[in-house]
């Protein structure tokens, strides 16, 4: 049965983040934003689809998107 990636949590390294805003811009779901200290934060976690694009593009390697693999829900209508 197909497994689906789900967000566990965003681990954003505040020490490493330089606030470039790239993750904010590339996130397809507009999950991230820069806080007042110009550090990335996951402001809308609930929208995250765990695509990990932010993690893979962050030039400061400051984001890790922790994911869990859950079974594709088949309870819905087929």
């Amino acid at each position: 049965m197909a497994k689906k990636k789900k967000l566990k949590r965003h681990a954003i390294n505040r020490e490493w983040c330089k606030g470039c805003g790239i993750c904010v811009a590339v996130c397809p779901k507009n999950v991230l934003e820069l806080n007042s200290k110009e550090k990335a934060v996951a402001a809308r976690k609930q929208d995250c689809i765990a695509c990990q694009l932010c993690e893979e593009i962050c030039p400061d390697l400051a984001i890790e998107v922790m994911v869990k693999y859950v079974e594709e829900s088949t309870s819905g209508d087929k």
Partner: protein, 266 residues
């Protein structure tokens, strides 16, 4: 993925400016290495001098940070003397193609199994924004205040003309493709060249009013198309991404091993 396994954490945050594309190359590189399942002790990163060249200091492989433009020459010594090593050479556009141009074409000619990653930000970042041989006509730089008259190389054409057996290009915007091309370039048995368009918001961006790092990334998205795309015919300004050359020819270290057989058979 635990990127930190591959990093020398104590040097982070790294020295690159906020939004510098070189960090994205680093990010993709460690992922590609992870995907390939290479052992850290089997990789040697050999780099020259430049912002881009500092990448070798951040990864927990063997690392050899050499002289401006000379990385491929050092790498040739490393590889030929111990062919079992994976030798990866991250280079700046100036490093690879200005001062280092000769080693670049000769490594291609020899087809020695080294992976050259040309991190093309169209400027000399480390020295503060002079034009490079990839800046192109009409760009501005501290040494081109009246706009540049120097034609640019096409890295792909140059590498091809010099005989490289794997030639590809992508950008730091296209991280999936970047990871996959790094993997292919490393796996290729022969000299491989991967040009990666990378943004320098601090110098190239500022001097040429290219906006923020995000704006520059978007221009990579909008300004490039996959190899062979029709859009390119309509708009020749577009830059192609993908694999341009991929062929098998005798690799230099292999040829040397055969030479030794010939010589010892005598």
């Amino acid at each position: 993925m635990d990127v930190k396994y591959y990093l020398r954490e104590r040097f982070f945050p790294h020295m690159w400016c906020a939004g510098c594309g070189h960090g994205i190359v680093l990010n993709s590189l460690v992922r590609a290495v992870d995907l390939l399942g290479l052992k850290k002790r089997d990789i040697v990163m050999v780099s020259g001098i430049g912002c881009s060249s500092r990448i070798s200091g951040y990864v927990d492989f063997h690392s050899l940070h050499t002289l401006h433009g000379r990385a491929l020459a050092f790498a040739t010594g490393v590889k030929l003397s111990k062919p079992s090593l994976n030798v990866i050479v991250p280079m700046g556009d100036g490093d690879a193609l200005a001062i280092g141009g000769n080693h670049f074409i000769h490594a291609a000619r020899r087809n020695i199994n080294i992976t050259a990653l040309v991190m093309n930000n169209r400027t000399y970042g480390m020295t503060g924004g002079q034009f490079s041989p990839l800046s192109g006509v009409g760009t501005k730089a501290t040494t081109a205040p009246y706009s540049n008259i120097d034609r640019e190389f096409d890295t792909v054409e140059l590498a091809t003309g010099a005989g490289a057996t794997f030639v590809a290009r992508t950008t730091v915007y296209h991280v999936k493709q970047l990871q996959s091309l790094i993997k292919k370039a490393i796996s290729h048995d022969g000299f491989s060249v991967l040009e990666v368009l990378s943004q320098c918001p601090t110098y190239f961006g500022r001097k040429n009013r290219k906006g923020s790092a995000v704006d520059m990334l978007n221009s990579f998205k909008d300004g490039t198309v996959p190899v062979g795309s029709k859009k390119k015919q309509e708009n020749p300004e577009l830059i192609e991404r993908g694999i341009f050359v991929e062929k098998q020819l005798p690799e230099y270290c292999d040829a040397y091993a055969e030479l030794v057989e010939r010589a010892t058979a005598k």
